[in-house]
Symmetry: C2
Subunit: 213 residues, 2 copies
């Protein structure tokens, strides 16, 4: 097979995904991307139209499948109509994110980190063009959490979902900087399995704690 060298669009997407994570959208120039991808500068505008459109393409390539994977997990767990445990519910999000993070080309891990960073930055392109992509995801998880934690009021439940997703996204972001608050020699924040082993008990305990009101 001669597929060892992906086509130009794919090479641009792969490199852009990585550089947007490393330097941020604004600090990443098309010249950096095309140089590292080994393609011509004009190729970005030919294939994607603009730098903004390239950013959106990086997202649309992976976000849809990731969210669909989570919803498929929810469907499977809820099949019998029984109530989910919190841990089972958390795992329906963790498993697809973890699978993506283990993508052999490392692109998936880059994307999960990019998604987390872009959420924290509240980036205009995510707000403006991608919001309808996750509306079903939001609705499904809101209802699932309501059923799994019926003792909590709506406000308290909303806060806990906010904390849980914040934590999960940031854990998969794999930032080294927050490691300065811990002993850096023992924690490898980039190992997805270790993240899950320690993250899930923490999140489940936080979600399950009795109501504070």
């Amino acid at each position: 097979m001669e597929a060892n060298r992906p086509d130009t669009s794919t090479r641009i997407l792969d490199v852009a995904e990585r550089l947007f994570v490393e330097h941020g959208f604004e600090a990443t120039s098309l010249r950096m991307i095309t140089q590292q991808a080994g393609v011509n500068l004009a190729a970005v505008n030919y294939h994607f139209g603009s730098k903004d459109a390239l950013f959106e393409s990086v997202f649309t390539r992976r976000l849809g499948p990731l969210l669909a994977g989570c919803i498929a997990e929810l469907d499977a767990e809820e099949a019998g109509g029984r109530a989910l445990s919190i841990e089972a519910l958390v795992m329906t999000f963790i498993r697809p994110a973890l699978a993506l993070s283990k993508d052999p080309n490392k692109g998936g891990a880059m994307f999960v980190r990019l998604l987390s960073r872009t959420l924290v930055e509240n980036h205009r392109l995510l707000r403006e063009t991608l919001s309808q992509q996750y509306s079903e995801f939001v609705q499904r998880y809101s209802r699932a959490f309501e059923r799994a934690l019926p003792a909590l009021g709506g406000e308290e439940l909303a806060w806990r979902m906010h904390f849980a997703f914040s934590l999960m996204f940031n854990a998969f972001a794999g930032n080294d900087v927050l490691k300065i608050f811990v002993r850096s020699q023992v924690v490898s924040a980039r190992d997805p399995d270790m993240i899950v082993k320690h993250l899930v008990p923490f999140v489940v305990a936080g979600l399950n704690t009795p109501s504070s009101s």
Copy 2:
């Protein structure tokens, strides 16, 4: 008193603090800052030397006092030599951060959000020039967590500190975007007291959960 209009340096710092949060460092131009501050474009380079140096000055104005406040809280709680509860330990960090977030000029809240965002972005200027500022903070909290959670091994403890600080920083960051995962009408992520009311039980439960190994 004629102090109603702060001097040029302060006005630049206040506006820069807010714009760096809203748009990020790279996407914020000196023209935006000086225009909104009502000062001349050249004033930034006269008073601070460069855009990079301005960013550092925004941090040095508030980071030292914030960390010193946390350490002072630790000193007070540890005064009797007794072991701290997890909740007491968490509150030694929450209280100074909360006080800063309630700064009447809103600058403190902006700074806490900027700190969180800059940590997540792993920004070069935070890595390169500010790391010695928080070394005492890191050492003190590492020892305090060891004493408060003696049943945990070093690795597991490190992970939990990582999660706890991630969550606390991101909560004070007050991002609206993660709210898309919850019902936005009930959650006001910018109200510091509400953050604490719901955040502290969640973090404490996560930290206190039995060892997973």
